[in-house]
């Protein structure tokens, strides 16, 4: 993004953001021995109150990419991109399927990662290992995407004053530093700052762009109908099927992201959790909804951009808005800093979750189960840094072939959903069919993406994989004979008792 409107001013704002994040990290960790407990470091002692929990859920689900990437999509797709409101909302429905019960069990058994639940429920190393691989793969790719986005946003904001690679390294170091000091607490409290800036920024951005098109959204619709009628027409049938498919893929995929599940574990109480989710349900129209409108207004402000050019839409609009007056100029700079902050806030949650899985699920479960919690936390922290270094190397030396496997996220992650969700309610669900369902579902999803068949009749490979996965797990479990003892164990595991 080439932003003529900023430069030195942008650098000042970015440095201020970085300093605030470091300060929050320092304050979150000061005087506490977070490193001696997995739950204190990775889950903020399972004691997040309503404000921190709400904003950390928000900042985790909505990244800077939500703005920089979704506005151009609305620009290209037209009104069909309204789907971004519903697919972000349906995540709450997916949470309602499993969060209430999983919260109770996680408190009773002191879970740290989603894998803890899977291992407890199925007692099967193959299932555990496969789930860990799928989740780490999805998380790693998600982190990679955020790291690339940080560099693009920073070099865009500063008009190239801060070069791309320097920007990434500087912000990654800031992120690692505050995360090292304060763990989940630092992540959640920085999310409050990052979330507020993002929300306010979107509203001012929309106000500015509406002002520039004469203050009347009705004109925008009429303009598009006249010049690009395809963008206002009723979507064709395959687009409608695709819309349903994405509701399933994103709904289940985003709700069972490991960092999303860990936010269920981190809640101080059931009351805090349900209040946070109840408010989260209103965020899609206020976030992706407003970004959608911004993208649509962009069609009138900059008609006829090619697909590549449209990727710069947010920067181009910000330039125009910054030109209105000094107020808008400064808000745009603060907002662009906010976009960077929002990307960092998504990346930090993903990294923390990644570290917790290295620490708890791989090192603590398979390598050195007798290690002290302090040692496990350290392994997670150092492992996280190594993972970030490896991902940065990958970002700067992208493989010439098979690049697609680094794009797979939801498609693979969603395959863990049946084990997590069905396992909560169906006592007969057993390990072997779950394993084969997960493996075959992931292979179908992965192969479809790799061979270029991302969708069939509008249905995503991840959703087809998920259907096969559920069928194998479900039908297979009907054929596996479970003893009365196993069923009563499952009954016990999934019960709603508070005490173990």
């Amino acid at each position: 993004m080439d932003l003529a409107f900023s430069g030195a001013d942008g650098v000042i704002i970015l440095v201020s953001y970085a300093l605030v994040m470091l300060l929050i990290g320092y304050l979150s960790g000061r005087g506490k021995n977070l490193q001696n407990s997995l739950s204190d470091y990775f889950l903020a002692g399972k004691n997040l109150g309503i404000i921190a929990l709400f904003f950390t859920l928000y900042a985790t689900q909505y990244s800077g990419n939500t703005i920089v990437g979704y506005a151009p999509t609305a620009y290209r797709m037209g009104f069909g991109w309204l789907q971004s409101i519903s697919f972000m909302t349906i995540i709450i429905a997916a949470y309602l399927l499993f969060a209430p019960r999983l919260y109770v069990i996680s408190k009773r058994m002191n879970f740290v990662t989603p894998t803890d639940w899977i291992h407890y429920r199925f007692k099967s190393n193959p299932v555990t290992i496969l789930a860990v691989i799928l989740m780490l793969w999805g998380l790693g790719n998600y982190l990679l995407e955020q790291l690339v986005a940080i560099g693009q946003a920073v070099s865009g904001l500063t008009g190239g004053t801060i070069p791309y690679q320097f920007a990434v390294i500087a912000f990654v170091l800031v992120m690692l530093a505050y995360e090292w000091m304060g763990g989940m607490k630092a992540v959640a409290f920085t999310d409050v700052m990052q979330g507020v800036v993002l929300m306010l920024g979107i509203i001012v951005f929309l106000a500015g762009s509406l002002y520039l098109v004469g203050g009347n959204f009705g004109n925008v619709g009429a303009f598009i109908a006249e010049n690009e009628p395809a963008k206002v027409g009723v979507p064709p049938m395959d687009a409608a099927v695709n819309w349903f498919s994405i509701l399933i893929l994103v709904g289940f995929g985003a709700a069972i992201y490991p960092h999303a599940v860990q936010r269920i574990y981190s809640a101080q109480s059931e009351k805090t959790l349900k209040k946070s989710l109840s408010r989260m349900a209103w965020m899609p129209p206020l976030t992706t909804g407003l970004v959608f409108v911004i993208g649509i207004i962009g069609i009138m402000m900059f008609p006829g951009l090619t697909s590549g050019e449209s990727e710069q839409l947010v920067g181009m609009m910000a330039n125009e808005i910054a030109g209105i007056n000094a107020f808008y100029y400064w808000i745009m700079i603060i907002f662009f800093g906010g976009i960077v902050a929002a990307i960092v806030s998504t990346a930090d949650s993903v990294l923390l979750s990644f570290s917790s899985m290295l620490s708890n699920d791989i090192y603590g479960r398979f390598v050195n189960p007798t290690a002290t919690e302090h040692k496990k936390v350290m392994v997670g922290k150092v492992g996280g840094i190594i993972a970030v270094a490896a991902l940065l190397w990958l970002a700067w030396n992208p493989p010439a072939t098979l690049y697609e496997i680094f794009v797979l996220k939801f498609e693979l992650l969603v395959q863990v959903a049946p084990a997590i969700i069905l396992g909560l309610y169906w006592k007969r669900l057993s390990a072997k069919p779950v394993f084969w369902g997960m493996l075959i579902g992931a292979l179908i999803a992965g192969l479809m993406t790799l061979t270029g068949f991302k969708t069939v009749f509008g249905i995503h490979g991840g959703v087809i994989g998920l259907l096969v996965n559920v069928s194998i797990a479900g039908v297979g479990s009907l054929f596996v004979t479970t003893s009365a003892k196993e069923e009563s164990e499952a009954e016990e595991m999934t019960s709603l008792k508070v005490e173990a």
């Binding site: 009104f79 959204f217 206002v232 009723v234 349903f244 509701l247 109480s269 059931e270 209040k275 109840s278």
Partner: protein
């Protein structure tokens, strides 16, 4: 007393029938393709309808979280 009742959303079929019906209303599969597009507040009519049902989904899910979910809350709040 209703407050002491355990309420778990997955146990209530009507909740999920509601979610599916709202989803079916959000996705504009049922609008005739082609023809003249009418506008409501700058939105094509089909998109306006879809937007309204998207907001219904937000309100419905928000309300469900607040009222249809109560498992250990009373116990936890008592302990405080």
């Amino acid at each position: 007393m209703e407050n002491n009742e355990v309420r778990e959303p997955i146990k209530k079929k009507w909740i999920w029938i509601g979610v599916v019906l709202i989803m079916l209303a959000i996705v504009p599969w049922y609008f005739p393709k082609g023809g003249e597009v009418t506008f409501v507040l700058g939105f094509p009519a089909w998109a306006f309808v879809s937007l309204m049902f998207s907001l219904v989904l937000c309100g419905y899910l928000s309300w469900l979280c607040a009222t249809q979910w109560n498992i250990v809350e009373d116990l936890e709040e008592e302990e405080k």
